[in-house]
């Protein structure tokens, strides 16, 4: 390689890439005429480009891009269907409040309150719904048959002292 080759090497690449100006082209061509080393370098760049490019062009011609498009369309449709789920997820992920998990104690307290309230409600409901509680308004005596004694609890309520039942 000649000394002048180093000064031409950058231009040689521009020349090869068809980016050189007409002045630069003339300079390179003049140099190439008397420099086998730069001719080889240029030839090598061509080989290298072919080695990269030719296999790609060959593969390209064999591909079924229509089928590839069908895959793309199917994938987009699948993703669109689940987009509402993703949007909720992304909202949860984006919310700083949820990310910090400061809401966990509050939710736990709320859950306990709901549980307790529900229990109380059901207890009250079951009390009201008891079918065996009867109220009997009587000025005198209430008869409880012996056969029912084991199953019935009698609670006496008196409005006045004078109405209190005599000890039996």
């Amino acid at each position: 390689m000649k000394d002048s080759c180093s000064s031409v090497s950058r231009l040689l690449e521009k020349y090869f890439d068809q980016e050189a100006t007409s002045k630069e082209r003339a300079l390179v061509e003049a140099h190439l005429a008397g420099c086998p080393a730069c001719q080889d370098a240029l030839k090598w760049m061509g080989h290298c480009r072919d080695s990269l490019k030719v296999p790609i062009e060959t593969a390209l011609q064999k591909e079924d891009f229509e089928r590839s498009w069908q895959n793309i369309r199917r994938e987009i449709q699948i993703r669109e269907k689940s987009s509402w789920r993703e949007s909720i997820q992304s909202w949860l992920e984006l919310s700083g409040l949820f990310r910090k998990k400061v809401w966990v104690p509050a939710v736990a307290v709320a859950a306990i309150l709901v549980l307790l309230t529900t229990q109380v409600f059901f207890e009250e409901a079951s009390f009201v719904a008891l079918p065996d509680v009867e109220y009997v308004d009587s000025s005198y005596n209430v008869m409880v048959y012996p056969i029912e004694r084991g199953k019935i609890t009698v609670i006496w309520l008196f409005e006045g002292q004078e109405m209190e039942a005599p000890p039996s």
Partner: protein
């Protein structure tokens, strides 16, 4: 970017899949070249093409038209291909022998020794490309495979033309060093 393409992009941003199909028809071969240039494998390249266009459809709303659309798409394709190649665990040393093995047209006219030399050269080029830093690899592929001009490369890579030339130069130099043996053999014939 022409008016027609602007319209397509606008429609695609509104979720029009037919517009995406038109963009796909225009650019799938270019995206494929980039993908194949990086991974050198047909199936993987098709996977990358699909991934790029799905990604494009989802993120095209971010494209504001400040740069040319193809530079936006090429950059996306290159980044996806490089990410994909990093994830790959397989070694595609036999890619030249698989179905659809690349057969440079000029090779058909040459003898077995010459074909072997070309195959070796292609394998070495592939191995050499893998050793290049991503920026130099990108520059080589944009120039040698896509045939982009220096200006277009600078836009796609987000750097100056001087940087593009530098990356190309060092990339080529490194490949040349790695292929010196084969270059000499070529030179002797």
């Amino acid at each position: 970017m022409n008016q027609d393409e602007n319209e397509l992009i606008f429609r695609c941003q509104k979720g029009d899949q037919d517009a995406l199909k038109e963009i796909y028809d225009r650019y799938h071969d270019k995206v494929y070249r980039i993908a194949y240039g990086v991974v050198r494998h047909r199936e993987e390249s098709l996977d990358i093409v699909q991934e790029v266009f799905i990604k494009l459809f989802r993120s095209i709303g971010n494209f504001k038209g400040k740069s040319k659309f193809y530079t936006y798409l090429y950059r996306m394709a290159m980044n996806t291909a490089i990410d994909h190649s990093r994830k790959m665990y397989r070694v595609f040393s036999s890619s030249l022998d698989e179905e659809g093995a690349p057969q440079p047209s000029e090779m058909a006219e040459k003898g077995p020794d010459r074909i072997l030399l070309h195959k070796e050269l292609e394998e070495k080029v592939k191995a050499a490309l893998d050793e290049l830093p991503p920026d130099q690899k990108m520059a080589i592929l944009f120039r040698e495979v896509e045939g982009l001009s220096y200006r277009e490369m600078a836009e796609s890579m987000g750097c100056s033309i001087g940087t593009v030339m530098s990356r190309l130069h060092y990339g080529r130099k490194k490949i040349q060093e790695l292929l010196r043996k084969y270059v000499k053999e070529e030179g002797r014939e």
